[in-house]
């Protein structure tokens, strides 16, 4: 994977790189161990400090970082017996959404996630993680399958949004997303959504009607992209940084608005500095949440999900 460094993450990346080098040394020679521990602790603290007052826009950039772990990376770390399932049974297979069966801590689960590409060629195949209707119809099929066979649904959200194109409209992008929302609402099994990167609007929500929604520390979730918002409000897509601030789309704001239930901490410098460590943190959160949800009956799970979304909104009267 080609290294890509955002200007503001430079000092953190240097720290993390030094830790990584020392770790390699320590693996060969144990005398470096104490120094490694010292440096790890220091790097963790400094990274936290350096990232403590990131702007909303900087977090948006982290959420879109090209080195960030994607759905398939998490699948590799979290699950055994992964079996990808393809196709919507009416038009095609959409590589921007991956679906399949997997074993999570001994239990069969259905996994649905947006998938971005790594590099130019892969990104064409994955359409930069922007699904077409067939992707959503595949997801819908999985929600129903999971519900039928009593398998928990674990989704991973990471998309700029559903693709706005001619074919997508011809084949009913709106209906496909609406049908996903309905199928998720009806699922008689635990549903947990994890926002691992970008949560772009309705195209993200189609994987987001869950009993519990968790977001990674530098994940985002928004009704519109900051660029889109800026171009509508100020006819100037370059004011995206300002729009990002106003949309309240970062993890702490999402938690405050109760749109997410939990923020999952990322390793020093962000998930892309240590995908395995990031997956470990996601795993811990998933395990706790799933255990809690497995105590509920199918009816309780449907009602719990209903009440969760029923209570969201701000109005008087």
């Amino acid at each position: 994977m080609a290294a890509f460094v955002l200007p503001f993450e430079k000092p953190v990346v240097e720290l993390v790189t030094r830790v990584r080098e020392l770790r390699a040394l320590a693996e060969q020679d144990r005398q470096f161990l104490p120094e490694l521990r010292r440096l790890e602790e220091k790097a963790g603290r400094l990274a936290k400090e350096l990232f403590s007052d990131l702007s909303a826009w900087q977090k948006v950039q982290l959420s879109r970082h090209p080195n960030r772990p994607y759905t398939l990376d998490y699948i590799g770390h979290l699950f055994d017996e992964w079996l990808e399932l393809h196709g919507d049974r009416s038009f095609g297979d959409d590589a921007a959404i991956v679906c399949g069966l997997a074993r999570y801590r001994g239990r069969s689960v259905v996994v649905v996630g947006h998938q971005k590409g790594r590099g130019a060629k892969d990104n064409v195949k994955r359409n930069f993680g922007m699904p077409h209707p067939e992707g959503y119809r595949k997801a819908c099929r999985m929600y129903e399958l999971a519900s039928r066979f009593g398998m928990p649904i674990l989704t991973f959200i990471d998309t700029p949004g559903a693709y706005p194109g001619i074919g997508a409209e011809e084949r009913g992008q709106s209906e496909a997303i609406g049908a996903c929302l309905a199928a998720m609402a009806r699922a008689r099994v635990p549903v947990i959504a994890t926002i691992i990167g970008e949560g772009g609007s309705g195209g993200a929500l189609a994987l987001g009607v869950a009993n519990r929604v968790q977001v990674l520390e530098y994940g985002t979730y928004s009704v519109i992209s900051p660029e889109g918002c800026a171009s509508i409000l100020w006819k100037d897509g370059n004011k995206a940084d300002e729009a990002a601030e106003r949309l309240r789309m970062t993890a702490p704001d999402l938690l405050r608005l109760r749109v997410v239930d939990r923020v999952v901490e990322e390793p020093a410098g962000g998930a892309h500095q240590d995908a395995a460590a990031a997956a470990k943190l996601v795993d811990a959160a998933l395990h706790t949440t799933l255990t809690e949800l497995l105590a509920k009956s199918p009816d309780q799970l449907v009602d719990d999900r209903y009440e969760r979304f029923r209570s969201l909104g701000a109005f008087v009267g």
Binding site: S147, R148, F149, G150, A162, Y163, P164, G165, I166, A168, E169, E170, G172, Q173, S174, E175, I177, G178, A179, L181, A182, M184, A185, R186, R188, V189, S201, G202, L205, G208, V209, Y221, S222, V223, I224, G228, C229, I232, L233, W234, R246, L247, R248, M249, L254, L257, V259, L294, S297, P298, R305, Y306, F309, R310, L312, G313, A314, F315, V316, G317
Partner: protein
Amino acid sequence: MPWPTRKRGGLDAHEKTSLGKGVFRKCDGCGETLTAEALHETFEVCPQCGQHHKLSAARWRDLILDDGKLEVWDAGLEPTDPLSFADGKPYPDRVAASQRSSKAKEAIEIGAGSINGVRVAYGAFLFSFMGGSMGSVVGEKVTRLFERGAAQRLPVVLLQASGGARMQEGILSLMQMAKTVAARERLRDAGVPFVSVLLHPTTGGVAASFAFLGDVNVAEPGALIGFAGPRVIETTIRQKLPEGFQRSEFLLDHGMIDRITSRLEMKQELGLLLGHLVLTTPLRARSSRRLPEVDD
């Protein structure tokens, strides 16, 4: 084609002043100059070319509901400002301005009424209120519409005209999509019909939530209906969109809606539909068999 019957006596005094006698308007379709009064008479449908111009929620009531009567629900719901959003103008000011100009509290009205004698739960978007955008209040009212439809076993007829989710309420607007659809599914479980009427325009978060989940989806002719707005698509694919793209006729061709119905026949068709869906004797009691329980 039956022309909708008007209340005898024509326009009332208030309507006359608001119309302004002798005001002329150009038809958006054929360019013909028409008097505002003539367009009012035909519910804003051009008598020359059939172009459907925007119709106010008040006029939709007159057109669709028996005696134009709606027992309004939850008229007092108003938005707050959860994001402290400002874009040159603070969001509360924008809402207040819309409330003044539209004389409504929000972008939808809901309530109970009758269509050809069938009692329904009825909702209509007010496009004139911030583009019919769906924030917390619209989401809440659509949800209550479905919930009451289920509880009182009233078929839901919802007229949509919306640019999508309301940006000024950010992510909470997006959440309304999930909330409304979940309520729509409860109506489905109750075995009560939902007739979705798509007007010009229905896009974004409203299109991508309940709008296409009707048991029957009906659209007005020539309405713009789609997920992404045409300009967004043109910017993305860097080419001009073909004529008629995302219009009702395009959607009918692609199998996304059941029917295109002229506004002037809307009431009659809704009456027919409800007759089939509601007033019929089912072959057997509707079963609500659920999936077998699953053990952990």
